[in-house]
Amino acid sequence: MRTIRIGSGAGYSGDRIEPAVELAEKGGIDYLVFECLGERTVALAQQARMRNPDTGYDPLLEERMRAVLPLCAAKGIRIVTNMGAANPEAAAKKTAEIARSLGLSRLKVAAVIGDDVLDACKSHDLPIMEFEGSIKQLGNKLLSANAYLGAGPMAEALRGGADVVITGRASDPALFLAPMIHAFGWAMDDWNLLGQGTVAGHLLECAGQITGGYFADPPYKDIADLARLGFPIGEVGEDGSLVVTKVPGSGGVVTAQTCKEQLLYEVHDPTRYFQPDVVADFSQVSVEEIAPDRVRVSGGRGTKRTGTLKVSVGYVDSFIGEGQISYAGPGALTRGRLALDIVRERLKLTGVAASELRFDLIGVDSLHGRQVSAHANEPYEVRVRVTGRTENLREAVRIGNEVETLYTNGPAGGGGAWKSARDVVAVASVLLPRELAKPRVQFVEG
């Protein structure tokens, strides 16, 4: 039976680079996938592109490509990535330029474009899923609308001979499904195969999260050598069989436990994991350790895809102002609470216009709120944190200022004040009739 080995070289845009180099060097892989595009990243990238039309792709694209292209070219490893963000075409051109500068002029680079569906969303005024309202009601706050594309266009690019395939918004598992569809000629309506392939893609897409990252909890869950955490490899057979493993000698582990945790990561109803190409069913998945750092994962299934694509809509939501200051030693908790009371009252007295405010003590209740944290011990030091949502930057700035003034106008011993004010680009979702997205593949001259 034919098998391909797919390495996962990044689980988010800022991820470590050296594990991808290790995969290319020693992983015996056929494909290297970089998943680098978070929910809101594409909206931020769209803003960058509006300022400069040659940008809008992942800021680490050049560094990653320079690190892996020579190895990948030498070994025939093909790269699939969503580092195109809001501008896959410019990312492909940049990659071709980097390849040339490295003496790899024969490298074939393809961009998948067409995930930008802003016009289609506007003309159909689709309803927003997360809150009452529609696209039109976002008015000039609307920044971007990008459809989660499926594996089809990426597989087509591979079929066309691309050594590097660069997309914008695509479903994360689809980045992995594309090489499987291409290598094995899977039919786009073989729902069970696409479902099992989605399981593989889902497990691999967060890179280090299946090899021991986001996992260690000593002494219950000890992981060796996390500093050199290696990234995963999926060995996928043409029948959809899957073994998850990693580069021998790299840090971390692949165990049944790491695979189970990642299987359910960001999953809601496990029988219906909606993807552009299939509705995957994770409910009957089994995992089995067959050797050290080798876990067989089977039982993924699927049913017919839906008629719509999920679209990420980026919009300017609000502004957030924030301030922090620390107290320590005997009575730190009491002084921290006093500081919060003072700021709460001052924000009222000075009439700061905030639609939402939050008062936290870092080290006490900032992560899970006062009720969940009620029985915690008193800490040696606490950090006051006040944040609020405003309609403009000027009001947001005032929130951090009211924390900073605690230096000379608050309890004793306040130190390390810090403040910030920023605009918030938020993301909501709409469902777009699938035929309204028209993705296409564009090859860039190397």
Binding site: E39, R40, E130, Y214, F215, D217, Y220, K221, Q257, K260, E261, Q262, L263, L264, Y265, E266, V267, H268, D269, P270, T271, F282, S283, Q284, V285, S286, V287, G299, D317, S318, I320, E356, L357, R358, D360, I362, S366, L367, H368, G369, R370, Q371, V372, R385, T387, G388, R389, V424, V425, A426, V427, A428, S429
Partner: protein, 106 residues
């Protein structure tokens, strides 16, 4: 004993919804999880955090439960005022849940 003794857990986020897996280290404890780690109990445990409903899914092949908690992430990861906007630290709080064990099941 604490849930942490018999199960491990991971949190994921999508929009304003958080999901937390609870996975038995040993499948023999799965009935205990099903019996005691109910959606209602999880919702009560996260008082002040979860503002929506909690739905529980069972995955018997891997001896795991999946809790999906709506209206939990301060209006959504991309706009939340919270320090941990993703709610990634929530799994650790859930493992603090008290589990009553019959002696023979330890």
């Amino acid at each position: 004993m604490k849930l942490r003794e018999i199960a491990h857990s991971r949190t994921g986020d999508k929009g304003n919804t958080s999901n937390i897996s609870v996975i038995a280290y040993d499948a023999k404890h799965f009935p205990l999880l099903k019996e005691q780690v109910t959606a209602a109990r999880v919702r009560a445990h996260f008082a002040g955090v979860v503002e929506g409903e909690v739905v529980r899914y069972e995955l018997s092949n891997i001896a795991a439960l999946n809790f999906v908690m709506s209206n939990t992430l301060g209006g959504g990861v991309t706009r939340s005022l919270a320090l941990d906007a993703h709610g990634k630290s929530l799994s650790s709080a859930l493992l603090d849940l008290e589990i009553e064990t019959p002696e023979d099941s330890r």
